[in-house]
Amino acid sequence: MNLATSLEQAAWDVLASVEDPELPIAITDLGLVRDVRVDGGSGSPGTGARVSVRLVPTWTACPALAVIRGRIRDGLLAIPGVRDVSVEYTYDEPWTLERMSARGRERLAAHGLSVPSCRFAEPPVCPYCGSHDVVVESLFGPTLCRSTYLCRHCRNPFERFKPPAER
């Protein structure tokens, strides 16, 4: 494995260790990482690599974005051989539910969060009893990415992950 490849692997390891501060899920499972690029870092004395990470935000006004960016920067700069880091959010391709991994979905479900499978408009399902007999309490929940519901079958209130609406 050459140096650039091993640095890239180390960068992905860092990214997989960064969690969303508002959800118990790694940003790699949430699908925030668009791509990682390693430039330079030939290994000769006095040089170091530049790692560039591009991210796709779920919600553009989410206050967690700055926190996530800071954690990535700190983690990447701690990799030996990395001299410079760039972390940018991009908007050329919107975040969609397909970006979330199966493991990510399981983590959120285990946390009691209902997660739509592909569209925000699909019928919500109660994460406790599996019923579709639910009513929306509020589209705007405790964070920008969550809405609140009430299950009429088991009488539990629950939250649903709220993706940006499809066009």
Partner: protein, 279 residues
């Protein structure tokens, strides 16, 4: 940072696009600020959280547009947001008006979101990256704002029951007198907001320059027709009458009301206390 403005070589077209993007950012900043004033005093906890979230999103969107406009300018997006004089803002006057009653906030939200959705669509189709991609992304977020406005309009403005013996159509559980009052208040709010909402489409020399350059599809008059069709489809099924007034322009040219002066003084106070501070 690559910006949409830097990619435009003709200085006149670049200046026109800058003005157009400032309208977008200033609209989002002013309406976001007004929405935020509902925090803690919304009519119920869900609406309070919703208005606070919508405010948070609009201010976030404003920041993204200010970043695009500012590029590497000294002071960056904060100076654009807080370091200009009121007459340098290009927001529509409707968005600087005080919240008034809940019904005015809801009517304004519905009228603005219909406009915003359309404008973001126009920008998304402009091919001007990276703002085109940004606009497509934001349009998906804004859709929830429109859903919230539509649900509240339905709740407030559903017409009162017709005469006895026929099937009632008023909001369930509400006496007819309450439904009638709510409906009348929504209609009055619509009358008050309408001339200013028409001024969303006020055009300046910048619009002419952009049209000549083929940068943004429709002329403002045609955009306004499309918007009117959209809002009619929302309002008329609720028995609301579309007002007949004409547009009350000004905002797009920096002509504002005392409402913006007061809002501006409050909104910029912290930034003015130390413009060089890093937050």
């Amino acid at each position: 940072m690559p910006t949409a403005l830097a990619a435009i070589s003709d200085p006149a077209v670049r200046a026109a696009f800058r003005e157009w993007l400032l309208r977008v950012a200033d609209d989002e900043l002013t309406i976001g600020h007004r929405h935020s004033e509902w925090t803690g005093v919304g009519p119920d906890i869900e609406s309070d959280v919703a208005m606070s979230s919508i405010a948070q999103e609009e201010l976030g969107h404003a920041r993204l547009f200010y970043e695009q406009i500012a590029g590497d300018e000294p002071g960056g997006p904060d100076r654009l947001a807080f370091g200009r004089a009121p007459e340098e803002y290009h927001n529509a006057v409707l968005l600087e008006q005080p919240n008034g009653g809940w019904e005015f906030t809801i009517v304004r939200l519905a009228l603005y979101e219909a406009f915003e959705q359309q404008r973001l669509g126009l920008l998304a189709r402009s091919g001007q990256e990276p703002v085109a991609g940004l606009a497509a992304t934001l349009g998906r977020e804004e859709r929830y704002h429109a859903l919230f406005a539509a649900a509240w309009l339905e709740r407030l403005a559903r017409p009162p029951a017709p005469p006895a013996g026929t099937t009632g159509r008023g909001a369930p559980g509400l006496p007819d007198a309450v439904s009638a009052t709510a409906h009348a208040r929504v209609q009055a709010a619509l009358e008050a907001a309408w001339p200013h909402a028409l001024a969303f489409f006020e055009s300046t020399e910048a619009d002419d320059a952009l049209l000549r350059a083929g940068l943004l599809g429709d002329p403002p008059a045609r955009q306004r027709e499309t918007w009117e069709r959209t809002v009619r489809a929302i309002l008329e099924p609720l028995g609301l009458t579309i007002p007949t007034g004409t547009a009350a322009p000004g905002g797009r040219r920096g002509v504002h009301t005392a409402d913006l002066m007061r809002m501006h003084a409050e909104m910029t106070e912290v930034w003015r206390s130390d413009p060089e501070a890093r937050w």
